[in-house]
Amino acid sequence: MGLTKGTVSYRRFRLQDDLPLNSPEVFLDSIQKQAFRPIDGETDEEVSIGWVGVNDPLNTELRHEDLFFEDLVLLSMRIDKKRVPAKILSAHVQRAFRDYAHENDRALLSRSEKENIKEMVHTRLLRRVLPSMATYDMVLDLSELEVRFWSLSQNVCIEFVELFGMTFGLNLLPMSCYGLAAKLLDEVSVERLANLQPSAFVRSRGR
């Protein structure tokens, strides 16, 4: 479930830097440069990550009216991944080893020969595999300088922070206890929090 319907689970981030005073056109241009591009089926590319329109993972021609909503920028991060199933790869590799040994009248193959064969088989199979696709919505709030991102997976969040940084040149701080404290308290109080020790919540009676 994402931005527009259903229950929501999301991570909040705060911009660590001030928003550059760019015009919407420059902003849009930055997004378009990181728009999603499908994996090239003729290469051994395995992963592609980029922006698409919310509710339309095929929309990579991102226009102003698709993205901007009042003080918000609405986008989805799309991740396509191609992966050759391990058992299929193994079966094809074993057959390729046997064929190579037979053609070259060899009983044993060297490690480098095996690695080369495995690489070739993997590349050949990869071109036949359809990618899996996942999308994750995000909202950049330009007035509050905060981001909401619809995934709690650590790996997906890392990809998101990286894509966000590449697109806008801005760093994100997760709104965990530290990030929230930095928003809610003054700097001195945050420093004092860092010096606290965990409390013992249970004491024996009479102390």
Binding site: T4, R12, E70, C177, L185, S189, L193, P198
Partner: protein, 175 residues
Amino acid sequence: MSLLARIRQLDFLASEFLTWLLYRCERQNAVWKLDASPAFELWPDDRLRLEAPVDGVTKNLLSGGTPSRTAEAHAALATGKLVQEARWKLLRGEKEWLFTMKAPDLDLRSVRLPELLTEEEDDRLRERLSLMRELEETVELLLKTFLELRLSNGWTRDELPAVSEWILDGTPSNG
């Protein structure tokens, strides 16, 4: 110190916050009146996970009914376990949110927003985001209250002994 180290340094406060929240909800009968904000109700719902902060291995997962009021929950707290995950119900006026918070990240999870009043797609999006913001502001207000209290002398002088009493009063041996 790196940013990641600074973030990790405060992680322990998340489970302290959730445990304190549970205590205050019980003590205040779920009614909260903070700052100039209108009063609201917050109480623990049907899921509670407690873990020892040190080993993190032994845990109690309680679900169904009101697990925070069970003897098991208090017994776990009495052994030093803290709340690592809890589902909450928030009432502000006619609006009701259900949501889960976990330590240490305090992300808002499985949030069920109040019923939407608008029909148009743009209006619904605006309303959903506004309801999410309302929940975030409430959680921030609660966390700010906790952190300020945690930094004050009143934490060790008054609050912590009161939490301890509440935990021990609810354990099976204390009826």
